[in-house]
Symmetry: C2
Subunit: 236 residues, 2 copies
Amino acid sequence: MTTGLKLSNVHKAMLGETILFSGLNRDERNALLACATIVRYQTHDMLFHQGERGEYFYCVLTGFARLYRLGGDNQEGDIRICEPGDSFAECLVTDGGDYRYGAQAMEHSILARFNLEQVRALVEHRPHIGIAIMRSLSQHLLSTIDCLASDRMQTAPQRVATYLLTHCKPEGLAAKMRLPFQKSLLARKLGLAPEALSRAFSSLRAAGVTVSGRSIEISNLNVLKTIPAITSRHAP
Amino acid sequence: MTTGLKLSNVHKAMLGETILFSGLNRDERNALLACATIVRYQTHDMLFHQGERGEYFYCVLTGFARLYRLGGDNQEGDIRICEPGDSFAECLVTDGGDYRYGAQAMEHSILARFNLEQVRALVEHRPHIGIAIMRSLSQHLLSTIDCLASDRMQTAPQRVATYLLTHCKPEGLAAKMRLPFQKSLLARKLGLAPEALSRAFSSLRAAGVTVSGRSIEISNLNVLKTIPAITSRHAP
DNA sequence: GCTCCCACTTGATGCAGATCAACTTTCACC
DNA sequence: GGTGAAAGTTGATCTGCATCAAGTGGGAGC
């Protein structure tokens, strides 16, 4: 890990595009930027461990961070995969406390790191910065709810179909995409074992999904949209 | 449903105890209270449907509200069971939009209903009210993460054991408790079919858990704490 | 171009929990 | 206190996914 570098203009520009900075004017942006430094991590580096005292929250600039919970028996349960633009651990801004999950870089990654105490002080008299953090929290809450609901209602092929439909670039009825990361990471994101993801892709071949490495082609989006219906119920 | 009543002093006192109102001074409390009215619902009444335009967020005073997602095939997936003191749908304060889940009263229930637009206006120049909402959102995010992690890592008996350990009143090594609602609602909360909850309770009998209606007795808390280890791994 | 390693795939097996069905208990209401 | 409907339990079966165990393939490095 490389620690505590100053933000370049490129970094500031990247942060300006994130949800966290949306709706802030120039002054407010600068005030929030003043709480941040840049940190770099290698693949598999830990950003922080579950249970450690929370000192910073983070925003991914490049690479990926994996958030996960520890269970009994040394097992790990993935909570969320953070991509460029995503922030995490802002939930500690209000009350501080310990990190409630671990965070690990899954590629060579660059992140902005915000000092919780400084941001907390800022929010005291800058309502718009508070609103920006609320917006970010709201979105994380809704996406975690999405995740929980799909875990409870959808099968593996359904979850994969949903992921493809929400991430592909349509070209008429067909579509293409390239996975932004390894399949094993996608499996974690979807709450599946890597083998289950692989089998889900095979079963989607019948629905016109062709997978080659990270490249995926979909021959008919409408067919893919029916996957939930097909797989979810036994024909009479 | 009974709609739009003014808040009594009792209601105001109850709201004062909630996380949403924590950390607010007298002025701020009154400002927030001014956005609220009281509504009453009968068992199974819908507070709002998924996809409807969001107009209010809610705080439970008495009774229970069930939040759930609709899936394909008319299935419903439960997101959260809200008890007295819990608030929900505050995630719409920042940006508005539609309700992302349905909410249903599971008993005769009384709730405070806050006008989103009024609260949004309030937050613009009252940082502490924004912070209070952030605190509430942070807590919901963390508890949804708990839920997701336990869905992904724990078996049914483990989840039930965890629920008991976090909700019982210890008396030395033993403990007692009374379920605040029907077992079918607890099953929903834990993401289980009612039959699975029933079987989980039977399997916990061996760990000294006695269930009679809504009354539960635990003979030895330490034994219950080991359930995760026992059930999670096959002995060699 | 060859090789090694790691990601991925495929097959076989086992288990947790959903589902369906029947029965029992509980509770509300007359 | 009796009656009916809802809630909960128990048993049998089935399905989806995890797990374990071999393979296969592809990309980085020499």
